[in-house]
């Protein structure tokens, strides 16, 4: 009742006296957004604001940022604007928006299974990828449910059930391969009496795979699911440095489709390597020379005198079962009863985090009874029941009530910090006690499962998986290597992890006096040498620009095109990811990014943006941020001038040098001309940026978009960590201990 009254009071054209909102609308808005004109397809007359949360949110933002009414038009008094803002904000408070029903993401599903059964399944070929256009794939509204998804659940569940419950221990086999069994692409690899050589880092030219035959091209294919051990005898040639091999799955005839599953560091002097892989029937494994110095050799690969890898012998053993029965088999069939209802109960208890309701249980029982009736073996019954339970909504969907029950609370924390189900210790802890909650947080962050959180979160927050979407042009950037690009895509995660583990200030995301780098990246940034592929902390010399997220080559590269940088993409990236603001491409306008090679054109574009009111609203914010970064080229290296490229032929390009002008001005008049000045400007906005990051963490963990509604929550967290130097770790503690975290 209260709610209805409120609604009536606030609805603009209600029978009550004219509200402030009405006043503002009718005097300042309706002429462009009313019955006569609907600029931007927005109409503000005759609407029920209380039922339109999204519109209310947009109105608040537009008024706060003074984006509307347009600068040239009549402006409302600040008293009126403030009063309207309060009214609008109150409107948001009247209705609590909960998160939408969530299902497990592919990663969560996989981790769940692997944690539960101590397996090492990679389900990426079975379950569709979860896309997230506007944020995180953990949001219910982002998650697609489709027939294809459903069918994949059935298929995946049956796959898992069949691999977990095995009737007989599979026989282990050994395959012995020598040089005559080695196959490649014949363009950058070759064979001599002595061995098989890889020379280039391009899988089309250099890869090693195996044939069971010494004479024909038939390929070796994994015959059965299981763990396989690969032993390779090899020698590094023409090099004193360590090298890196890639392990790839896929049809070696089409290396473009290779799926990289591992990279192996090969210390110089290595004579043989051994690795274990969990593989599926039909898999084909190829090795590539990922640290090679060239992507193609000039003449014959035999004549190439740079670093090479020579392979002389290989054995493959498998499938290997170290323990029998396996842990999973033991866990599943542990219960000795041959009653299938009891087996169903046991499996539910093992697999599901929540008890089934009576009807669901009844339905499962009748499924179990049908198995009894068919007189299937216990193993068969277990497989069928597992398939059924893993396909059921109780497994696939997360169950959360308005106020989270203790079990759901533990689950939410666990999906946040481990991207998987809670373990027994977390489930039995009393998380309402701050002390115990803190203990659990520390324990969980120290567990290696926390890596899944940092990786998944940074991937989705910063788009680190898109770093290599556009490969550097070999003609313009002949000295950018695949392993460097790989390191770029891992830098943000290493940086985030270090800040988290070491209780550091979130301000480091804007600027830091250190970076995280491995051998490749330190070399790329021309910093003192770092040993090995692992990321280590590197203190920066005073005045060095690379600190913080914006100095990272990964970001600079993913926002560029093949030959040119894009100030617009970079600016949008900063607004979306660093400020945490929403930014949508203009609707109804066919945006074709103009050719922005060369300084003159860039300034022209900016001018164009600034002169059109339509474009100005957003581009006045976007463009200066990106322009300030023009001293960084498409692969994220410092440059002192532009290289304007003209493509002459496949092999040849013409490069013309041009002067860079990175001067720009923010809407509030602050001047920028470099990464340094940009970072200083961002440091002024520190509070806004840290709150933005808190918002991202809240969205990721609760599944609720960090809308204005979450402002009090975000403010509380910010307040709490202000006493703790804005520590990221404390922010996470403040997030999970806040009462809003326990709301659906």
């Amino acid at each position: 009742m209260k709610y209805i009254l409120l609604l009536l009071c606030l609805s603009p054209l209600s029978l009550f006296a004219e509200s402030n909102i009405d006043k503002l609308f009718s005097n300042y808005c309706i002429s462009c957004h009313g019955p006569d004109k609907q600029k931007g397809k927005v109409r503000l007359d005759n609407l029920n604001l209380a039922s339109n949360h999204k519109l209310v949110e947009s109105l608040i933002v537009v008024l706060e940022e003074k984006e509307m009414p347009p600068r040239k038009k009549k402006q409302p008094s600040s008293d009126l604007a403030d009063a309207v803002l309060i009214e609008l904000q109150d409107m948001l408070k009247t209705k609590k928006v909960t998160s939408t029903l969530k299902r497990l993401t592919r990663e969560e599903y996989t981790n769940n299974i692997n944690d539960l059964f101590k397996t090492n399944f990679d389900l990426s070929e079975l379950l569709p990828e979860d896309k997230s256009d506007h944020g995180f794939n953990k949001l219910g509204e982002e998650q697609i449910m489709s027939p294809h998804q459903m069918q994949s659940y059935l298929k995946t569940a049956r796959f898992i059930a069949n691999k977990l419950v095995i009737d007989k221990k599979p026989k282990e086999r050994l395959w012995d391969f020598d040089v005559k069994n080695f196959r490649g692409s014949k363009r950058g690899d070759y064979r001599t009496e002595e061995g098989f050589f890889l020379t280039t880092n391009y899988p089309w030219r250099s890869n090693l795979h195996f044939s069971p035959s010494k004479t024909s091209y038939s390929r070796f294919v994994i015959p059965k699911f299981g763990k396989y051990r690969f032993n390779l005898d090899l020698t590094l040639v023409n090099t004193k440095e360590d090298q890196t091999l890639g392990v790839n799955l896929g049809d070696p005839r089409f290396p473009t489709n290779f799926k990289k599953i591992k990279r192996i560091h090969i210390p110089n002097g290595t004579k043989s390597i051994s690795l274990e892989l969990t593989l599926t029937k039909g898999d084909q494994v190829s090795f590539t020379f990922d640290s090679a110095k060239v992507w193609r050799v000039e003449r014959k690969p035999q004549a190439y005198n740079g670093p090479k890898v020579m392979f002389t012998k290989a054995t493959i053993t498998g499938p290997i079962y170290q323990e029998w029965p396996t842990f999973a088999q033991h866990l599943i069939l542990n219960n000795t009863s041959s009653n299938f209802r009891a087996l169903a109960d046991h499996l539910c208890k093992t697999i599901l985090n929540h008890n089934l309701d009576t009807e669901s249980k009844q339905a499962l029982y009748s499924f179990a009874d049908s198995l009894t009736k068919k007189k299937v073996t216990k193993n068969n019954a277990a497989r069928s029941l597992i398939t059924a339970i893993l396909s059921s909504p109780s497994f696939i969907f997360k169950q959360e009530s308005e106020d989270l029950k203790p079990a759901s609370y533990a689950e939410r924390i666990s999906y946040f910090l481990w991207n998987s189900r809670p373990d027994t210790e977390l489930k039995s802890a009393d998380l309402s006690q701050p002390k115990q909650l803190r203990q659990q947080l520390v324990r969980m962050l120290n567990d290696r499962k926390a890596k899944r959180f940092t990786k998944d979160f940074t991937r989705q927050w910063l788009g680190t998986d898109k770093v290599d979407d556009i490969s550097p042009d070999e003609r313009l950037f002949p000295d950018v290597y695949p392993l460097q690009v790989d390191a770029m895509s891992k830098e943000a995660n290493a940086f985030f992890t270090y800040i988290l583990k070491n209780d550091l200030n979130m301000e480091n995301f804007i600027d830091s006096n250190f970076i995280m780098a491995n051998d490749q990246l330190a070399n790329f940034y021309e910093l003192p040498k770092v040993e090995g592929a692992e990321f280590k902390k590197v203190n920066l010399p005073k005045g060095h620009e690379r600190g913080g997220l914006l100095g990272q080559a990964g970001f600079l590269k993913m926002t560029s095109n093949t030959f040119t940088t894009s100030p617009i993409l970079r600016g949008v990236w900063i607004i979306k990811n660093i400020y945490g603001e929403k930014m949508e491409p203009p609707t109804g306008i066919d945006i074709q990014e103009p050719d922005i090679r060369g300084a003159k054109t860039i300034k022209d574009i900016i001018k164009k943006h600034q002169s059109t009111e339509n474009c100005y609203r957003c581009h006045a914010k976007i463009d200066p941020l990106g322009l300030a970064l023009e001293f960084y080229d498409p692969v994220g290296r410092y440059r002192s001038e532009y290289s304007k490229v003209e493509v002459i032929s496949k092999e040849k390009i013409k490069i013309e040098k041009q002067v860079i002008d990175a001067t720009a001005e923010l809407t509030d008049g602050r001047k920028l001309n470099s990464l340094r000045t940009l970072k200083n400007a961002l440091l002024d906005d520190k509070e806004k940026i840290i709150k933005g990051i808190i918002g991202k963490l809240i969205t990721y963990s609760t599944g609720r978009p960090a809308s204005l509604q979450e402002r009090p929550y975000i403010d509380d967290v910010y307040q709490q960590i202000s006493l703790n130097k804005h520590s990221l770790k404390e922010a996470i503690f403040a997030i999970i201990s806040h009462e809003s975290f326990r709301k659906k």
Partner: protein, 404 residues
Amino acid sequence: MNRRTLLKAAGMSLLLPQLESFGEIKGTQTKRLLTIVNHLSFHQPELVPGFDKKVKKPSLLNSLKENKNNLKLFSGFDNPGIQLGLGHTPSVGILSGYFNKLERKNRISVDQQVAEYIGQDTRFKSLAFQAGYNLNFSQVCWDKHGLPVHQLDSAKKIFHLLFGIENDKKEQQKNLTEDKSILDLVFKQAKSMNKNLNQRDRHKIDEYFTSIREVEEKVKRQTYWSKKDKPKMDYTVPQYSSHSVEEFFQVMLDLAVLAFETDSTRTLTIQIPFWEGFKQPNINGNYHDFSHHGKKPEKIKKLLVMENMVLNKIDQTMTKLKQTSSATGNLFDETKTLVTAAMGNANAHTFNDLPALYYSNDIKSFSHERHEKKPICNLYKSIIQDFSGRNQKFGESNNSVELV
């Protein structure tokens, strides 16, 4: 109104064994769609009259002469839904009219949209073949959820699907039966879960219900057909060189005609994907390289050898369809054929100025129509309308196209 439409209207079509209605629609003409995409496009000065003023008689049209009277040629189409792509990659959006490099998913393609309307009564709702092993940039068929439809590139596997006998039929039957009871079980569980949800979450669970029902249909279809013997065909997959574009394409065309002849499906798509090195009796080389002719006459000549071969094979296939009798006449009467190119100009990697060929029994004489800068979705929209009877927007479409 029959029982099925009534139940369908009540949103319950899934509770009915879909295939009970098999053969229900008597008297109406069976309709089929054959779609052929050539990834490396066609050299348009030699295909489109007037494209190049200097070319008096486009030579490629000669290869189409046998069935030219049933052919309509379109040119000039744009594909405005293709964004943010470089090189060959955006080619994946040729049939959907959409591509965005930043998205893994696409939108439904024209062939699959047609299959939604005419794919109910056959063993396969649709089939997709690929005349070449190269998997790069080659996904062109997308389902209604924007997910890739598996494109088969092995003639042996296709033959097995169409005519082969299931090896582990028992296991297949067992799994299908189990699928059925599991779907039934999870449906009940979801229903019970539904009670405790708010309205928004119910909407989410509704998607789950829909999905369960769709899969139920699929399983039903598989189960129904798994009991029926596959048609017997006096055909063995010939030994063909997988290095020859010509032989590969020919086998796929033959299998397509067989699939139609046995009414295994009514929607079939063949793509000639990205080809590099190939060997054929009359010509060797790198097809991709030919397409980057840089306007050099000697390279264009080689390219035209390939394109004449492709078009000639299409022409021969049309003749074959005419020679193959069907329940109501011949296969050509039943079949509309759409031929497109994934690029307008493979020399420059452009995705506008796209040509299209359309074969139909309703066409009585050859004509050429230019649709300068109009979205190719206009053509797709009209084709879909021809099959569905519904005038609905498809992708970027903003108008209709006369198909005759």
